[in-house]
Amino acid sequence: MIRESLSRLALRAYPRELARSRGAEMQSTVLDMSGPSRLAFVRELGFLVFCGLRERSRMTARSGRRQLTTDACSGALILFLAVPLWGMLSRFGTSTMRDGKWSLIVLGVCLVFVLAARGLQPVGRDRGPVRPRDRRDHHGVAGPADVG
């Protein structure tokens, strides 16, 4: 159950339209890909968030260089704050409870932080319906040559 919630949360990294059209399918694939392994699940989530944020960045890049720069700086600041948050929560977990689920809870908290912070940014968020001329770019999440 916690995995379903986390994967649904990770999909928030994607632009709204893409998450709506492919979200359920991607969530099922994440759960199948990771199987019973916690490490594989974390890896899958990490890649999912990375690819989603990259797609958002592509949308921002179309808004102009100034917004792209602002977006990159605020994104870097969010990650700069998320890393110590991860470390702090992990240390707190090992000193207070030995529950194996703690790492997933920490992951969830950090994901919420990153995605909420990204959502509050003035750039890089969804801007309503995609214009017809942008539709082709919007669906081109990444070129086959770019991914791996």
């Binding site: 893409l18 399918e25 890909m33 890649f47 990375f50 797609e55 669906h139 040559a145 991914v147 791996g148």
Partner: protein
């Protein structure tokens, strides 16, 4: 067609040669075909599938649900098959060239 096929895309498209497959099955088949060298994550897989659909290399079918899992089958188009064949020929030619050079070099060393 200005599309360079890197191993993940090449094996993901190759996974569809025998017929339509859903996302998870594509990742599994690509892993088999590449002898375990290509391990597609969900994010990477759907990124390249979206791109392949946009480039008309692949068509996406209607969504359906099996055992609580949401699926959609993807099928290779004629242009996808042609691109794959072109890339396979290109790789085979490159392999032949290097192999023949290596053999010639080995013969020169032993002579």
């Amino acid at each position: 067609m200005v599309v360079e096929l890197r191993p993940p895309s090449y094996f993901a498209l190759a996974a569809l040669i025998d017929g339509p497959l859903h996302g998870y099955a594509i990742a599994q088949r690509a892993r088999e075909l590449s002898d375990g060298r290509v391990r597609l994550s969900t994010g990477t897989l759907y990124a390249l599938l979206e791109r392949a659909v946009a480039e008309s290399l692949v068509t996406a079918g209607e969504p359906y649900v099996v055992d609580g899992r949401h699926r959609r089958d993807y099928a290779l188009t004629a242009s996808g098959r042609a691109l794959l064949e072109e890339e396979a020929n290109h790789l085979a030619h490159a392999a032949r060239t290097v192999t023949s050079r290596l053999r010639a070099s080995a013969r020169a060393v032993t002579a």
